[in-house]
């Protein structure tokens, strides 16, 4: 059987037609392959990457539907992280894993809040984070979150100054067992309460960093006053 699979795989580079010379392995076999790939990886693996490693013509997405079902209620679970899949131990069995527990660096209150703001408001600029927290965001806080790979730079905002934005990463989702940022707890309620809106302050509101010399804020204000 393994030989057949390997042979089928080799056709991958040669005959690129839709119907390959060798048929893709049966779905049960594809499920085994996904299982092996996910067990071997500590990091989530995307469908694309799985298919790149599997024989030509495989449908990893379909195989994953079967695999996920197979592991329901088991000691390990098949979880979706963004566009990728991973196997993780069932959270109710965490008590068994004292040996494996990793001491995570204790995050400061500022870092936790900043992280939450990025997660719920993403993509969000530094100025917006500061506006929400009412205090300037220290460089160290952002650096720490970047270093932990829980946040990354998103696209620049198409506003004057083209400020960078921050978004959360796949590592963040993986760490908190989230399939996507849409699954953040209470996201819907926050949205319906209007608390995720970017509501510009009415004129003459004090801005973060007014006491300091922050050029960006100065610009924002002067613009505001000109209007």
């Amino acid at each position: 059987m393994s030989e057949d699979i390997e042979n089928a795989g080799e056709t991958g580079d040669g005959s690129q037609t839709a119907e390959s010379l060798f048929e893709a392995p049966p779905i049960a076999e594809q499920e085994r392959m996904c299982e092996a790939i996910l067990f071997a990886s500590a990091e989530p693996v995307s469908i694309k990457e799985m298919e790149a490693r599997m024989p030509h013509g495989c449908d990893a997405a379909e195989a994953m539907v079967h695999l996920r079902k197979r592991y329901e209620g088991r000691g390990v679970r098949v979880v979706k992280v963004g566009d990728a899949w991973a196997i993780r131990t069932a959270p109710d069995l965490g008590f068994l894993m004292q040996k494996e527990t990793v001491e995570t660096r204790k995050l400061s209150r500022a870092a936790i809040e900043t992280l939450a703001i990025i997660a719920y408001h993403q993509p969000v600029t530094r100025a917006e984070i500061e506006e929400i927290r009412g205090v300037s965001v220290s460089r160290g806080t952002v650096d720490q979150l970047l270093e932990m790979e829980w946040i990354r730079f998103g696209r620049r905002r198409m506003t004057p100054g083209r400020p960078v934005t921050f978004v959360v990463t796949q590592e963040f989702l993986d760490h908190f067992g989230l399939e996507s940022a849409r699954d953040l707890p209470g996201l819907k309620e926050l949205r319906s309460a209007g608390l995720l809106e970017n509501r510009p302050p009415p004129g003459a509101m004090p801005q973060v960093g007014d006491g300091e010399d922050s050029e960006e804020d100065d610009e924002d204000q002067s613009e505001m006053f000109e209007e």
Partner: protein, 262 residues
């Protein structure tokens, strides 16, 4: 600011509020900015943030700042900016609206402040909810022995027929240029030959092999001989055409001879 002023400022607040406000001052370094201080103060109102009395909050904050000043606690500039703004807001809220005045009303400003406080409070709560989730490495775990995926790097090289032909052309072109570029001094031009032969032909009364007209400096080197022979021959034909000479060859590859035409 005098103590009794403080009293009049805070007539609306209860004793427990004042105690809370004093506790806050002890803690002033623990605040993450004026908004955080306001949020903490608002808790003394024990109401839904949406129903918070911004006026009361402004008074509480101003009292808090005054108290900090009395205790000679250095407040960051941010706190003072907020205090100034809240004093301004307070006057707007208390005085009847001035129709001449531009800009947002006191109520609008107060509403936005309430929104900011509610939003900050919500983000705090949700940050807590986020951190309360099962976390990797604490509640659930990754594979203990991940297998490294061996990267097998295969490099294939390609070239097109055009690359091949251009490559060849490049080499051949280089060859073709070589004589012209490198051996320029080996070229005896038609002009040079004519210049040399015009005076000499006058002395050629008898048939003479044209090879004897080759310049001496062009002897020896085959390439130079070739060039000089060709140009001397061409120059001879030119002289014949001009009617100044006759040319003959007894048979193919036999010597070409030249003599003056009188």
């Amino acid at each position: 600011m005098a103590e009794d002023d403080f009293e009049t400022e805070t007539t609306v607040t209860s004793v427990s509020d004042r105690m809370a406000a004093e506790a806050l001052i002890v803690d002033v370094d623990g605040f993450e900015g004026p908004l955080d201080a306001l949020l903490t103060l608002s808790r003394t109102q024990k109401v839904d943030l949406r129903k918070v009395s911004v006026l009361q909050l402004a008074q509480q904050y101003l009292a808090f700042v005054d108290r900090a000043k009395q205790l000679r606690i250095e407040l960051a500039a941010d706190y003072l900016v907020m205090a100034a703004w809240l004093a301004f807001l307070k006057s707007r809220l208390l005085l009847p609206p001035d129709p001449e005045e531009e800009g947002p009303s006191g109520e609008e400003l107060a509403a936005h402040l309430a929104f900011q406080l509610e939003r900050l409070q919500a983000m705090r709560e949700h940050a807590a909810r986020l951190m309360a989730r099962d976390q990797m490495g604490r509640d659930f775990f990754v594979r203990g022995v991940p297998e490294d995926v061996q990267r097998v790097k295969k490099v294939t090289y390609t070239a097109t027929l055009l690359d091949l032909m251009q490559g060849y052309a490049r080499i051949r072109t280089k060859d073709e240029f070589r004589p012209y570029v490198m051996d320029r001094d080996a070229v005896f031009t038609l002009e040079q030959a004519l210049e040399r032969m015009r005076p000499l032909i006058g002395f050629a009364g008898t048939w003479t092999d044209i090879s004897t007209y080759l310049p001496e400096e062009f002897a020896g080197d085959p390439a130079r001989i070739r060039s000089a022979t060709a140009s001397t021959f061409a120059a001879s034909l030119e002289l014949v055409k001009e009617g100044r000479a006759e040319i003959r060859q007894s048979e193919t590859f036999a010597p070409i001879e030249l003599r003056r035409k009188d």
